[in-house]
């Protein structure tokens, strides 16, 4: 499925051009993975809940962006604001309606609940929108390519990647430097002590779930400018997001960024220099090796 990400004319170029092409592709994909994974990581780190519907939230964001584009003519360059906000509310609502009831019970409860939510969302979209691939056409950035160091860099991917980094930076700043951010960290470290500070940790959980959704809402919004939408589109991304979070350490945004860039690079280098079919094998092999050596991830606490 990710073939659609990087089907582009070979420039038949030199070794250096190939190398920079592979490098840039890897970094761009890595940056996008980082934003998708950050949402998962945040929820996991603060609430100890693995949101199995994370990939489906991404899919919902992409459909939302697709319909905003094809029905209302809003370009993904602008509709990410709407999908980000929409996913914030969708995700916060899923917390309030579903996940909240499972917290404090067995560890399996939230896992199964979010898994159920993912199946619901996937089948809802399958039912309403058919399994067909839908690619938004006529977007502002469509077909624009930059040439850097012999590599051709499609503008939609580049903008998505750069914007992912900006959003990650904002999220990191928010968590590290603001009052609410400290309250989120405090809730993650010791929920009871956080309550004693006057922090309503139930509201913090709602907020964190909302932010988790917002990350894929924004990512999905931008990705629709170059990726086809279909009901299964979230699967690969959520799998990669799990690997990123496991490698980067739960709840760590810098960890997620580094792990995601690493995975983006492994994927593109293995895909180009070994064989395209090998790229995910390489990613998961890396994951297995790291987990065997460092169970808490490369950058985990």
């Amino acid at each position: 499925m990710a073939e659609s990400v990087c089907s582009r004319p070979s420039n038949g170029g030199t070794i250096l051009a190939d190398f920079s092409q592979v490098l840039i592709d890897g970094l761009m994909n890595g940056a996008i993975y980082a934003l998708v994974a950050a949402g998962l990581s945040l929820i996991w780190g603060v609430m100890d809940v693995i949101n199995f519907a994370h990939g489906e939230f991404l899919m919902v964001a992409m459909y939302a962006c697709y319909w905003l584009g094809s029905l209302l003519g809003i370009d993904p360059l602008f509709s990410w604001v709407l999908t980000g906000a929409f996913l914030f509310f969708l995700s916060a609502a899923s917390y309030l309606l579903v996940v909240r009831r499972c917290i404090g019970r067995s560890a399996m409860a939230p896992l199964l609940a979010t898994f159920g939510l993912s199946i619901f969302l996937k089948n809802f979209c399958l039912n309403r929108f058919t399994p067909n691939f839908r690619l938004l056409s006529g977007t502002i950035m469509e077909g624009r390519v930059l040439h850097v160091m012999g590599a051709s860099v499609p503008l939609p991917q580049l903008v998505t990647a750069l914007f992912s980094l900006v959003v990650l930076g904002c999220l990191y700043y928010f968590i590290k430097r603001t009052r609410i951010g400290w309250a989120i960290q405090a809730t993650a470290m010791d929920r009871e002590a956080a309550e004693l500070m006057g922090i309503d940790t139930g509201r913090i959980f709602t907020l964190v779930f909302g932010f988790g959704g917002m990350c894929v809402g924004i990512a999905g919004g931008f990705m629709t400018s170059y990726l086809a939408v279909f009901p299964e589109v979230g699967a690969l991304f959520s799998l990669i997001a799990f690997v990123v979070v496991a490698l980067g350490g739960f709840g760590s945004i810098p960890g997620a960024l580094l792990a995601a860039l690493l995975i983006g690079l492994v994927e593109s280098f293995a895909g180009f220099y070994i064989a395209p079919v090998i790229k995910y094998v390489a990613v998961f092999a890396l994951y297995v090796v790291v987990i065997l050596i460092r169970p808490k991830g490369l950058f985990g606490w």
Binding site: R179, M189, D190, E195, L196, G198
Partner: protein, 238 residues
């Protein structure tokens, strides 16, 4: 009645059906230091947690400044003026001293008030000023305890509840920390204190309650408790 800041009347609490405290009553007057004494597992922390709103009593009522606060959730109690420094300090380990203190003042919106309180607690514990940027988990036990007390003060409480301050501190430090508690009290904060160092605690307290397996078995002025043979035998090994 009205001169009591806190009145706990006949509360019972249980964990998963197992009774931890039964029909416990206690009063704390404005400006007092009251000590709670008892063996491990007697129910001292349970009493404090139920006042702080972390657990809800099965029966009985808790009044604070004349208002019934039974079952008020913990995150609201701080707005009412009750601050609880829990057993084991429970600092936010990966945050700096400064961030821990700021979180203590989470309920306070005005930046000026927060700054003024920071200045106050730095005045009380100058070491915290030096360690402002240090992560809480990298500080010594004594420094952490001061940080925990300071964090509890940052909300400007009327009542400060301190659970086993002396845990893991050397005796000379315990006295120093208890001296700071007396100083905090002189500045007008009412104090409810759980303490294993019975002698030292009663020396700064006005009154004390002795609890055993979930019940109050003795209470009175610190003087009378210090003179009680029973108490001296049971808790001071004399």
């Amino acid at each position: 009645m009205s001169d009591h800041m806190l009145s706990v009347s006949e509360i019972s609490c249980s964990y998963n059906g197992v009774q931890a405290i039964e029909d416990m009553s206690l009063d704390v007057g404005v400006g007092e230091i009251v000590a709670i004494i008892g063996a491990n597992g007697a129910g001292k922390s349970t009493l404090m947690k139920s006042i702080a709103g972390l657990i809800r009593p099965d029966r009985g009522s808790i009044k604070f400044c004349g208002e019934d606060i039974t079952g008020t959730p913990a995150n609201r109690m701080i707005f009412k003026g009750v601050s609880y420094v829990p057993e084991g300090r429970r600092l936010f380990a990966n945050l700096s001293v400064r961030e821990n203190l700021e979180l203590g003042a989470f309920s306070e919106r005005s930046r000026d008030v927060v700054e003024a309180r920071l200045a106050e607690v730095f005045d009380l514990f100058p070491i915290l000023k030096e360690r402002e940027r240090q992560l809480a988990q990298t500080m010594s036990g004594g420094e952490q305890q001061m940080c925990a007390i300071a964090r509890g003060l940052m909300c400007g409480p009327k009542l400060l509840m301190l659970d086993e301050l002396s845990l893991g501190l050397m005796p000379s430090l315990v006295e120093k920390v208890l001296d700071s508690v007396a100083e905090i009290n002189r500045k007008g904060v009412t104090i409810l204190l759980v303490e294993q160092m019975v002698q030292e605690a009663l020396e700064i307290a006005n009154r004390g309650y002795v609890i055993q397996v979930g019940r109050v078995v003795q209470h009175g002025t610190s003087r009378s408790l210090l003179d009680s043979d029973e108490l001296r035998k049971a808790y001071m090994g004399m």
